[in-house]
Symmetry: C2
Subunit: 347 residues, 2 copies
């Protein structure tokens, strides 16, 4: 585990921060008037350890995997939708694909643990660790070995990337249940608090979902304690472990990551608990409409970039946040200064 | 006046709305999961009166003008900053210019009433009505004739535009005072409620600013009553009138408009009071950090798209909102449907 976290350094640097803020204040605008765009530019430059950092190349990955917990009849969508949507994403027809294309963001979907065998496609990266997880209401979702394998594969994607910043999202029927179980076990909350409708689990579906997640929490609580890796392994999923891995790999290589919504945030929570400095590299893209997400962000003192009632996942919220972070750095890098533009400052 | 408003029709259309929502629900995502992006796509298509509307060409205008109220020593920035910033915007060095360039948005700055004579520049549109307003603490800011002239010039810009959607912002030292006076007179509020720091008016500057705006309100209240045009003329500005004009011209031609922040919203308020159907065509981009803006939006029942603590103006918030509206329409137009992608729907 140590190799995944030992290179993650805090980004704080007093001298560098001063230089970045000096530059921001020298741009042709009143100091602070770009609001959070200035915060994003500052944080981005601190991640890079560079007061003249570039932000050109952006890549977004959707991590996909299937979930045994769907046996509990917790969602109206059949498991096959996972692989069908992976194909749709790779073919360019999903929301995340069209959003990335229009934003000039490099895109790929990563098969971490989809049930079925997938054919080769241009924007599909095959990193399958297993054909879906076990039903965590009855047994561990993944073995610890396979969890490490998924982490490793995610970590390696970040190491290989030439992107200046990454975005991550996910696809996996059943994975809001896994995410809720992770929040519950890490934060010590019951299923009623952390489980929401996910993708259309209302009425009886929602009741069964809460019951199944609570069963999983009760079953695994003693074995996991507050060990984030054990929690990930017992109730998580391959795509969640892949996201945790890429986050750690990105932070190890000073690459910031835009975290999508409810499930990606659960992966981020594991990564932050494994190494608290990880947080410096994360941009939480949006407050999802999924019930517990806003509470989670508030509990951790995180202010998301957007709040647009989205709950699709895939990385769709991350795309929009990345466009804003990019614009923050466009201002930082391309605006004229008071001197260069001959604009008077305050009297 | 009638010719500015008589063509503005409400966008509501039951049959069309049904077709748009049917298409949204047929895209490969759970219905409603793109949250407000679906609301934006619906509203945009209704504006166009077309269930297969295009959103390709986007233009943003920054309206500029000077303000006599600056004689009251209400801001630490000298009036010359207005024309200096207009030159900076046209030359491509201002925040709004670099943001538009990166977003592929056509950009121009419009001189509606800058004090000084400006040289020709490629992205500068010269529509000067006068060399700044009079000091509204002592006399009407503009004559009614010149107000109509400014409205006409803004209106004409929209009529000439080939853009599918427009964005508007402004530049004018002193213009938060005008905007506050407009809010006060239209909504019946005192200056203490509507005046904020604007661009760096703190401490003594803020006290003088509140006093000057209140003086203007008291001076003009009886003459204006609740007539939006009289209010605009007595306490507004040429750039504000230009924005009101382009909003009316855009709505008359079914072109939606992204409204920037505090001052652009004051122009929008006048336009909405002149013709209430105008509102259907407006997207309020963001909640500015300027004190009264969030209250204004709440009073009118408007939920802004973004909330990023920005208070620069120029149209900077509108650029970011336009990118999101564009992405909403990219999803609407380019996503695969359940049938075309072979994805299973709910069981």
């Amino acid at each position: 585990m140590k190799r995944f976290t030992e290179k993650i350094r805090p980004t704080a640097h007093e001298g560098l921060e001063k230089r970045i803020i000096e530059h921001l204040d020298n741009l042709t605008k009143p100091p602070g008037s770009l609001g959070r765009l200035e915060e994003f530019a500052l944080r981005y430059c601190l991640c890079k350890g560079n007061a003249v950092a570039m932000l050109e190349k952006i890549e977004l990955f959707t991590f996909a995997g299937d979930h045994g917990i769907t046996e509990e009849n917790i969602t109206p969508f059949p498991s096959e939708v996972t692989s069908q949507m992976v194909v749709n994403m790779a073919a360019g027809g999903a929301a995340v694909s069209v959003l990335c294309r229009n934003a000039g963001i490099g895109y790929a979907v990563v098969d971490m643990g989809v049930k079925s065998e997938l054919n080769d496609m241009p924007n599909l990266i095959k990193r399958k660790v297993a054909y879906g997880t076990n039903n965590f209401a009855h047994q561990p979702a993944m073995t610890e070995e396979k969890t490490m394998e998924a982490l490793e594969r995610g970590f390696h994607l970040a190491e290989q990337s030439h992107a200046h910043i990454l975005g991550i999202g996910e696809m996996g029927i059943g994975n809001t249940s896994s995410a809720s179980a992770i929040y519950s076990l890490v934060l010590g909350l019951d299923a009623k608090t952390t489980v929401g409708a996910g993708t259309g689990s209302n009425g009886d579906f929602l009741e069964r979902k809460i019951a199944a997640v609570q069963k999983g929490i009760d079953l695994h609580r003693d074995a996991t304690g507050d060990d984030p890796l054990k929690i990930l392994s017992r109730v998580g999923g391959y795509e969640i472990a892949g996201m945790t891995g890429i986050i750690l790999g990105a932070a190890s290589n000073r690459i910031p990551v835009a975290i999508d919504g409810f499930i990606a945030s659960a992966a981020a929570l594991i990564a932050m608990r494994l190494e608290k400095n990880t947080r410096d590299y994360l941009f939480f893209s949006h407050a999802s409409a999924e019930k517990f997400h806003r509470n989670f962000l508030a509990k951790e003192g995180i202010r998301p970039i957007l709040s647009l009632d989205m709950w699709l996942g895939e990385g769709t919220g991350a795309v929009l946040a990345l466009q804003i972070i990019k614009q923050a750095m466009v201002c930082y890098s391309q605006m004229a200064t008071f001197t260069s533009a001959g604009v008077s400052n305050k009297e």
